[in-house]
Each structure stands twice: as C-alpha cells, then as structure tokens.
C-alpha cells in the first residue's frame, strides 16, 4: 500500500469505491434480502465493535437508491468519521452480518499505536491505542 490506511471491511484494499460502485453493492445486498445498516465512528480500533448507528437497519427498504441516500446523509453529517455499510442476514444458520465495507474515511486517518508491557519472562502484553481520533 502506498500510504497505510485502516483496512477493515470487505473492500479496503481497492481504491475508494465510487457512489456508483457503492450503489451496486447495496443492490446486491437488498437483492439477497439483507437489511442494510449505516454506522459511523471516529475510533477505528479493531475491537471497537459498536459504531454509532445512523438510524436503524433498513429492514423494509428494498430500493438501493433509498439506501444510497442514507449513506450520503451520514457522510455529509460526519465527513471526518469512518462510515461503513453493513448488511444483516436474518436467516436461520446465519443471523449475522454478511457484508461490511467502509464508504467514508477521515483525512488524515488516525493511527493505532502498539503499547508493550513486559510481563513474566519474555512475555509481553500488547495494547492498541488509537491516536488522532476524539477520545471515547
């Protein structure tokens, strides 16, 4: 990678998706019967599971254009945050997320600092701390 960036999500190694590409993925998710959800955060720590929800998952929405509108609205409200789209599959045997990808990034992105605490013998306890984001 030319410059390091957070590579969470399904498509982070590709160039940032255009709105057209995002819309195609939304169409795919809705076509599968999954509910799309938009979330945002300023803390990309990999254990930060619960990003702020931009409303509820859109269970009853079947129109990709409507979902795209929510993506745009969240991006406009939080231009300096990470925004991700997740798709929930409620079917038995899954009942979890099926696709999750980032659609907005802060510029510059925060970084994660690895802190090491020496413990017993040569063992080290590792902690990751987010730098450059609003503390939570």
């Amino acid at each position: 990678m030319s410059a390091r960036r957070i590579t969470q999500g399904t498509f982070s190694f590709l160039p940032d998706l255009s709105d057209e590409q995002i819309a195609a993925q939304l169409k795919y998710c809705l076509g599968k019967g999954w509910a799309v959800n938009v979330e945002h955060t300023d803390d990309p720590h990999p254990r930060n599971t619960y990003w702020e929800m931009w409303g509820q998952p859109m269970f009853d929405l079947r129109d990709p254009a409507g979902a795209m509108q929510e993506v745009r609205a969240c991006r406009e409200a939080f231009p300096g945050h990470y925004v991700r789209v997740s798709a929930f599959d409620a079917s038995h045997g899954v009942e979890s997320i099926r696709l999750s990808f980032i659609v907005n990034r802060p510029d510059p992105e925060p970084t994660l600092r690895l802190q090491r605490t020496e413990t017993r013998g040569r063992s080290v306890r590792y902690t990751l701390a987010t730098r450059g984001a609003g503390e939570r």
Binding site: M1, R4, I6, T7, Q8, T10, F11, S12, F13, L14, P15, L17, Q21, A24, Q25, Y28, P44, H45, P46, R47, T49, S86, A87, H92, G93, V94, E95, S96, I97, R98, L99, S100, F101, L112, R113, L114, R122, S123, V124, R125, Y126, L128
Partner: protein, 491 residues
C-alpha cells in the same frame, strides 16, 4: 434384492458357524428409524464371496457379531443391537465390463444405543474398528454416514463456528486469506516471526504453522509463540485489523498440548491449531478447551490421504469432515479443486457442503448418500491450501464460495517483490473478485479480465499474475463420485 434367509429361535443359536445373513444382519425389508445411524460402505468381496453375505458380515462385525454363534446373545436384546444391512447396490462401472472389479454399496443401519453419547472414539471403534481387516473382503470403504439428530445433539460441535469466527475477527463478505510459513522447517523463532509479520501486514488475515512444526532443535515452541505474537500485534497496529496466526500446539501428550495452548492464550492469540494425527479423543479435548477459552481451533488434516484417497479402501474424507464437525474443530483443510493436492470438483463440493450446510441434502453426484440435518450444530470453516495463487481467484471463488480460508503459502512468500507484496496481491485479487461478483459479473468467463483490471492499480498483483500465469495442476483425480462423468477443471 436378495431375500432374507434369517433363522430364528433355537436353530439360530445352535453352536457352530452360521452365515451372517442368516444371523439377522441382512434385513432387506428393514426401514431405518429416524434415530438410527446409517452408513454406506463400498465393499469389494473376495472372489467367490456373495456380496450380500459380505455386506451382512460388515454389519455383523461392526456391531454385535463374532465369527461363531454365542448363546450369550440370548441374554440381551440382541435384535436391537444387531446392525441391519438393508440394501446392497452394485457400484456403477464396476464388475464385468467395468473399469474395476465388482464393488457394491452396502447400506447398514445401527441402533442409537450402540454408541456412547458425544464420543467420536466410541463411534469409530464400532464402525471402522475390526471390520476393515475382515478376510472375506478384499477392500472396504466407508463412503458416507447419516448421523441422527438425537446423536448429533450429544456433540459440542465447532468451538466457535463460521458465524462467530467472522464476528470475532470483524471480517465479512469475502473468503479469509492465509499463508503457511515457509520453509516449514529450519527457521529460528525470530526469522519465522518475520515471515508472519510481512504476510499479515501485507494484507493476509492469518498465517499458519505447518503440520510438522512443533518444537524442534532449530526452534523451541515458546520462541515461535513469542515472536509470532509480536508479529501479529504489530500487523494489527499497522492495518487496524484483527490478525491471527495458527500456533500449532500438537505435541506428544495432552499435558504438553494444554501447556502450549495456555501459553498461546496468555499471549493473546485468537487461534491455535492441531493435527489430525493427534487422534479423535485429543481433538475433542482440544475442542472443549477451545470453547472454554474463546479460541478458534484449526485442524490440519495431516495423514488423512493414507486412508481417504483411494476409492476402494478406507474412509471417504466427507466422513472425516463430518466427524470433525461433530468433534468440534473450527477449521478443516478440505481441498482446493485447482491446487496441487487431490480434489475432484464434485467430491470437494460434497465435503464443503458437509462442513457448511445447516441441512445437507442427498446428492450422489457430490458423493453425498444421505440427507443430513445438522440440528443447528455450528458450521465448520473449510480451508483451501496447497498450490493455489492469485491468478486462480475467480475459479476459487466459483468453486469454493465465500465461507472458506484461502491459503496461499508459496503464492505469498514466493512473490518476486517479497512477502508483503505477495500478500497484497492476493488480497487485492480477492476483493476485486468479490466486488465484481456482487456487481453481477460472470466470474467464470470474465475472471482474467477482472484480475487484469485490478492489477492496473496494484503492481504486486500484476507481477503475481505474470509469474504464475502458467501454473496449474491438471491431473486426473482418484477420489471421484461414481454417479457422474469424471471432471477435473483445466486451470
């Protein structure tokens, strides 16, 4: 269908030797109960041995029978405990005019009470215990097994399962990517960790110890664990992703394995691994430990080809996969189709379905002989490893779908621009292929163009496609289903 020649009463228990089919092990009218465990065996009788008698003998020797009549049967509810062979079919294309000598599929039903709850060791001691060496058979293979829901519910199943593994790793919508550290033997702990760091920071989700890396003179296991976890954590910091390395805890004793697994847990590893050669009981013990310790458990199928590969004799891998899902591992090597190791596409499909389905329907062309309701047992993540590279990404996604770990060992570490570049090439190829698939593009036909398009913004992918463009492993498969023409894909 051969008629029942069963004899009953005093006649049945007169001292001496009686044909198995006459002792009650051949019951052509029997309908398996919902709670029966049902097996399909491929039998090759010795010359002159009647196939139905051979099949009845398999039922007998894998349940209550011995070579002679014993009166002590009459102290038991012996009719319940006798396994019942109820169907014998000739295998297509065998026997006169066929490719091989005559073989038969024998269907045998076993009463639930024959097996100890939750014990693969007990189940297998019956089903594949003595019977595989039985002289009247030239060869015997266990093709498939239907496990009743009542028995399945006595097993833990995968410690973590596909759904929870993805939630823990925060990775959705695409196959996971891994690589086995190479060379598999000889690296010091410090050098070994370098490979782990490069591969994970370059874009892979996992790296992996090979099956035979345990604790040798060149690298004590603690050295490996310490340096690997430094590498894993550094890679998490530069990527913002959860990363893992399968620390192989296989060792001589359970005590050693627990010690190593506990050290891995203390160091914060998300995953440990074991080899199939540790045995079924050790696997179940580690699966229980993994669930108790929030650990993903990877299983390397070391040794399986000694008994799974040849069609005439042994145990089909789909059965091993089924037992391992019951035993409770989270990952299992299950074939690549396109790589360097054995893997007919239809057979591999049957194995993957066995790992991932909630209900696996009967499908003879995939080698699946029974419907199997999995009774909400967790799903087992298949792992595709061995001779695969970025240029095959469209084929891999086509054959193996999304819930799979694709392991590119040589295909990462052998990259001309280095390990990080190799990892990046694989990750970009994968994400581009998933994006395209979701957009509705035809991967099978457009795959090479999609890869070429992705390579325009990723120089390491362009190099990978160039270096490995002519690499394929196009040999006829050995372990193929009997109900379709043989098909091995041209890579």
């Amino acid at each position: 269908m051969a008629e029942s020649l069963e004899v009953r009463g005093a006649e049945r228990y007169r001292s001496g030797v009686l044909a198995y089919r006459r002792m009650g092990y051949w019951q052509p009218d029997y309908e398996p109960a919902e709670t029966d465990l049902v097996c399909c065996f491929r039998i090759t009788p010795q010359a002159g041995v009647d196939p139905v008698e051979a099949a009845a003998a398999v039922a007998g020797e894998s349940s209550t029978a011995t070579w002679t009549v014993v009166w002590t049967d009459r102290l038991t509810a012996c009719e319940k405990y006798r396994a019942k062979c109820y169907r014998v079919d000739p295998v297509p294309n065998t026997g006169e005019g066929g490719e091989r000598e005559a073989e038969y599929f024998a269907y045998i039903a076993y009463d639930l009470d024959l097996f100890e709850p939750g014990s693969i060791a007990n189940l297998t001691a019956s089903i594949i215990g003595n019977v595989f060496g039985f002289k009247p058979l030239k060869a015997l293979r266990l093709e498939d097994m239907r496990v009743p829901v009542a028995y399945l519910k006595t097993f833990q199943g995968p410690a973590t399962g596909i759904v929870v593994e993805r939630e823990r790793l925060d990775k959705f919508g695409r196959p996971l990517l891994g690589a086995t550290v190479k060379p598999k033997l000889g690296l010091s702990g410090r050098n070994y960790g370098r490979v782990v760091y490069e591969a994970l920071s370059g874009g892979l989700d996992f790296t992996k110890d090979d099956e035979n890396i345990n604790s040798q003179p060149f690298m004590h296991w603690r050295e490996r664990f310490l340096y690997c976890m430094e590498a894993v954590n550094r890679a998490a910091a530069v990527s913002g992703e959860i990363k893992g390395t399968y620390l192989n805890v296989t060792a001589a004793t359970m005590e050693d394995m627990y010690e190593r697994a506990e050290f891995a847990r203390e160091l914060g590893s998300v995953i440990v691994m074991i080899d199939l050669v540790v045995g079924y009981t050790a696997i179940q013990s580690m699966a229980r430990w993994a669930r108790d310790n929030d650990m993903i458990l990877h299983l390397h199928r070391a040794g399986h080809s000694t008994y799974t590969r040849q069609k005439s004799h042994g145990v089909a891998f789909r059965v091993i996969a089924k037992w391992m899902r019951m035993a409770g591992v989270d990952h299992i090597h299950a074939g690549t189709v396109v790589g360097k190791l054995e893997g007919d596409p239809n057979t591999v499909r049957g194995i993957y379905d066995t790992c991932r389905d909630t209900v696996t329907p009967l499908c003879l062309e995939h080698g699946i002989f029974f419907d199997q309701d999995w009774a909400s047992l967790n799903k087992l993540m298949p792992v595709a490893s061995g001779g695969i590279h970025a240029g095959q990404m469209h084929q891999l996604l086509h054959y193996l779908d999304e819930d799979v770990v694709l392991q590119f060992g040589g295909g990462t570490i052998g990259h001309p621009q280095g390990i990080q570049a190799g990892a990046e090439a694989n990750r970009v190829a994968l994400e581009a292929m998933v994006l395209a698939r979701n957009e509705g593009r035809d991967l099978w036909n457009e795959g090479p163009q999609i890869l070429a398009g992705a390579a325009r913004h990723c120089a390491p992918l362009a190099s990978a496609l160039e270096v490995w463009k002519d690499v394929s492993f196009d040999y006829a498969s050995t372990d193929t289903p009997d109900f379709v023409p043989l098909a091995t894909p041209a890579a």
